[in-house]
Symmetry: C2
Subunit: 127 residues, 2 copies
Amino acid sequence: MFDDIDPRSPTPLYEQIAARVRMAVAAGELVPGDSLPSVRSLSRSLRVNPATVAGAYRNLASDGFVAIRHGQGTFVQEVPRYVRDEERTTQAVQLVRGLLQDAARVGIGTEELALAFNAQVGAEVSE
Amino acid sequence: MFDDIDPRSPTPLYEQIAARVRMAVAAGELVPGDSLPSVRSLSRSLRVNPATVAGAYRNLASDGFVAIRHGQGTFVQEVPRYVRDEERTTQAVQLVRGLLQDAARVGIGTEELALAFNAQVGAEVSE
DNA sequence: TCTACTGTATTAGTTAACCGATACACTAAC
DNA sequence: GTTAGTGTATCGGTTAACTAATACAGTAGA
């Protein structure tokens, strides 16, 4: 499940780990109530420091994705769908805002961005 | 012209400076053939290191925005519009790709992103 | 209580980005 | 060639993000 973890990737380890868990939940591999691997066992199998795994779990917990219970473990959390949808929408909006800022920084306006966006999304859909 | 340069901003100084020049060109304040302030004079007026201004100019030169002539100065470059348009399109596509990757990292798909994007763009247009 | 498991906190090392100081190199005009 | 203007290269300090090492703290069951 945690195969494609790459220490040399520019995206931090804790984010890679958290992303994998998110995917697993999205795919139904993990359902609410399931426990995640313990910080130590996962850190061993990934040859990574426990604090790094703990960071990934904290990251997930801050989204409400999982619940951390000190001394017991980390568990996939039941979250009403509408709550999760709201969170995702909020995140999406923030991402788009960041994009618009980055674009403005190099003098790219919203129209050009919209063109590129539609082109890119179309490309993905048609794959 | 370079008033709003803020050393404490999270966006690096050299990017802020480059962005201002881009704006000036886009607004017609600077036209092809115009010379930019010299590295030293601008560094003095901004109370910033010469190397920082030089970095900004190199940044602009890498886009073909300006031409740097060692010993002479830095000059706004004439660039055929279609070339510039292509560059901007390329940049826009790269930005969008980055957005899609970031979104995927937190489990947000293209549809949600498209919704957020349209909402955000609509908001900007209606301002 | 003891043991073996859980997560946590603190500290330090690595790396990369950024920026300043300073010395260097090119160009034009005198 | 000297001078005064240009940009350049190198080096070091600062900061922030990331991760490892290590010691700490909670929980459950024998």
